[in-house]
Symmetry: C2
């Protein structure tokens, strides 16, 4: 039984990798920077993304978002208030997005021509485990960790932190009431993924947004 499961899982991941490679090529040709945002439920992916979309648009940048959730389109409605094109992907019980879902939704998305975008954000299902195995063709994988979750999360969920290109510590306005140990958190992130770019933001106060937006703008520039 175990052997069959492992083989099937390998087959699924291989198929996903092929679709993701095709997506990555397509995104590169269109000149759009694609980011895959991953975290626990409730870390604040949507709040960070809402503010990011607003501030990018205020600077004249073209940005859009694909939002994954098991059920509801609450997040898509929140994000659409920013004025950016937003499309919801409901996975109906599946614990992660995969490259096939992204491909299908991008192809059916009337409101968006990839070539006109500079940024496409993909907000994954809230889950610190399963999304780590599924490449979505993104150029940058961002893991988010809120100050309310505890500094030990990188050590306990190493797979995801190890696969990320950037980390964002969110809800920094709550650091004091939570007794957040910043040095320990930074040390733990660096232990799992040495040298990773780390940002510290509060979507409530706007703290840290300048550095985060500067990074996005720098990454979007054609190299």
């Amino acid at each position: 039984m175990t052997t069959r499961i492992v083989e099937l899982r390998r087959g699924i991941l291989k198929k996903n990798d092929e679709l993701a490679a095709a997506l990555r090529q397509r995104f590169a040709t269109a000149g759009v920077l694609v980011l895959n945002l991953v975290s626990s439920p409730g870390t604040g992916k949507t709040a960070l993304l809402e503010l990011t979309l607003r501030q990018l648009r205020a600077r004249g940048a073209h940005a859009a978002a694909l939002v994954g959730d098991l059920e509801t389109d609450n997040d898509a409605r929140r994000l659409a208030a920013s004025g950016a094109p937003v499309l919801q992907i409901n996975t109906h019980g599946i614990c992660h997005l995969d490259a096939e879902m992204v491909t299908k939704h991008i192809e059916g998305w009337q409101a968006v021509a990839l070539a006109e975008l500079e940024f496409l954000f993909i907000e994954n299902v809230g889950n610190l485990v399963c999304p780590s195995s599924y490449d979505l063709g993104e150029r940058i994988r961002v893991v988010l960790l809120s100050v309310t979750e505890g500094e030990d999360k990188p050590l306990k969920y190493p797979g995801l932190f190890n696969s990320a290109d950037a980390a964002v510590i969110t809800k920094t306005d709550l650091a004091v009431p939570c007794g957040f140990d910043r040095d320990l958190a930074l040390r733990n992130i660096n232990e799992i993924r040495p040298g990773i770019r780390i940002f510290e933001t509060s979507a409530k106060t706007g703290a840290g947004m300048e550095a985060w937006l500067a990074y996005l703008t720098e990454q979007a520039r054609p190299s």
Copy 2:
């Protein structure tokens, strides 16, 4: 491909259900109340459990804990400080506990004789999606939701909330700085699981522990 996956998944869940039924029978014979604690990473399962173990032991009750994590035995070490027997299950990448892991660890657990226990807490891997399908033979499934995560989580992760017997809202000491809307959270939990028992606790201040312990004691009593 999809059909094969669905069949294999059904096979895995069927095998899990059979093992879970055997565990449930074994727990009932031993007269131990078994609870399965599920939540996002960072909701505070370990903090609630640490205080619960301490307070149960202070009342002379016999309690033990099995703790699931992808990696590290940090949680087991934290919980062992309560003086209760604690065993770590490392899943090495698997996103949930299953009945086979529980069976194996209970059988190898020299320190614990089930018949001498009144309570056995199983702390699941931090994940609001995948553990919902895996019965561990528990009598009570407890879903935890912290005030920092947002009131919409029951609507976005209905599978788990719908399979729970009790819900605990944690970190209530942070409700004010988080702007937590208690009425909305209670309404959302009740929308997914009408009539579910709901507790509101803070492991930091001890608020709400009396009601939670009274519930545990009442449930442990032979009916």
